[in-house]
Amino acid sequence: MIIEIIGSGCKKCKMLYDLTQEVVSDFGLSINVLYSTDINKIVNMGLISSPVLTINDKPVLVGILPSKDKLKEIISKNI
């Protein structure tokens, strides 16, 4: 499984990346969370907000920085 955060490199994107890493390690998963600043990836998916969180290349979170609980819920629903 691949979890990736894609963003324009702004503060919100970095915070989402850190939060995702925390959640992944809370779940005890041994997954590498990827971080990309390649905006074209976002646009190619047809999206236009940043940051985006994808699980196996499917966007599950678009343009917001969720609370930790909300993020846990989203990740557990999609793995």
């Binding site: 702004c10 994107c13 905006i39 047809g46 236009i48 940043s50 940051p51 599950v60 917001i64 909300k70």
Partner: protein, 322 residues
């Protein structure tokens, strides 16, 4: 009747009964003013941001793009500016938004109308204007903001500046429709609640500091003290206010209560409006980020056209509201 009368009662009770400050002193005035404004602004922020977030959950930028790519030029500029009011804008999204709009066939001018209106007419600024200046000034701000974004977009569209957009942008055309994660009504309400709390968490220190300094100025700076430096008859006040506003973007929440106090002490209203528009619409970090997709000249033209519109608005209201 003033719907905030109960807030005034609360402020009076806290000032005179709890803090035991002698009534009719400058200190009592300052403390009372501070409590009243803080409580009022936080009530307004909670209610209005919540409502705007609910509306917004139906209109994410991905949907707005579909709407805008189907409209002709002038109608597009107008709709883009109106949609900009309810859309949040974080400089994080400036680049994907620009790419996503242009590559889906939204005209350059329409895209710029949206890029101007979205940060300029935002709900936090509106609440603070409403709370500190009243509905008339808030309305003047919205209408002038809309006119500036519509006209800036039309002018930039007419100038045929597509060649100043980085060439890779036009190399690809993307599909306009996209499957977004579905949301239920319950999730919309949760989203709106979270978003409201999120904004409150982010802006409360600025608002407290802004209103705090504002309350101090309100009580201790002599009336009309600033008129000699920034009154309506000082020609340089408007452009200077616009220049000072450019690097202040992230502090819009603290800036508005502060300028409200400055206006009371003699800064002309048009100058104040121009300053607030500059704080919200012209943002240095956003310009830096936009360099990824457009040539520096286009950023200067964009800032120049919008800045000119703001300066004209400032002079205009200095004349009208004198």
């Amino acid at each position: 009747m003033n719907i905030f009368y109960p807030v005034q009662l609360l402020a009076d009770w806290l000032t005179y009964s709890i803090f035991n400050i002698v009534p009719n002193t400058t200190l009592a005035g300052v403390i009372n003013f501070f409590i009243y404004d803080v409580v009022k602004i936080f009530i307004l922020l909670s209610v209005i941001i919540f409502i705007v977030s609910i509306i917004r959950s139906y209109l994410p930028p991905e949907k707005i793009r579909v709407i805008l790519s189907q409209k002709n030029k002038y109608v597009g500029n107008i709709i883009a500016s109106f949609l900009g009011i309810i859309t949040p804008f974080c400089s994080c999204s400036a680049v994907p938004l620009f790419l996503g709009f242009v590559q889906a066939g939204v005209p350059l001018g329409t895209t710029f109308s949206f890029l101007v209106a979205s940060p300029m007419i935002n709900e936090v600024a509106l609440v603070l204007l409403l709370g500190m200046f009243g509905w008339k000034i808030a309305l003047i701000y919205i209408i002038s903001g809309l006119i500036i974004s519509i006209l800036s977009g039309i002018i930039i569209g007419k100038m045929k500046l597509e060649k100043l957009v980085e060439s890779f942008v036009y190399e690809k055309i993307i599909s306009r429709s996209v499957e977004l994660p579905l949301i239920t009504r319950k999730e919309r309400i949760i989203y709106a609640k979270d978003y409201t709390l999120d904004i409150l968490k982010k802006v409360w220190p600025y608002i407290l500091i802004g209103i705090g300094i504002g309350a101090w100025i309100h009580g201790y700076v002599p009336a009309d003290f600033l008129a000699q430096y920034a009154g309506g008859d000082k020609w340089y006040a408007v452009p200077l206010a616009v220049l000072i506003g450019i690097p202040l973007y992230s502090n819009a929440a603290g800036v508005i209560p502060l300028v409200s106090a400055l206006t009371e002490k003699g800064v002309a209203m048009g100058t104040t409006l121009a300053f607030m528009m500059s704080v919200t619409a012209l943002s240095l970090p956003e310009f830096m980020i936009l360099k990824k997709v457009m040539k520096t000249r286009l950023i200067f033209i964009f800032a120049g056209v919008v800045g000119f519109g703001i300066v004209v608005t400032g002079y205009l209201f200095n004349l009208i509201l004198m």
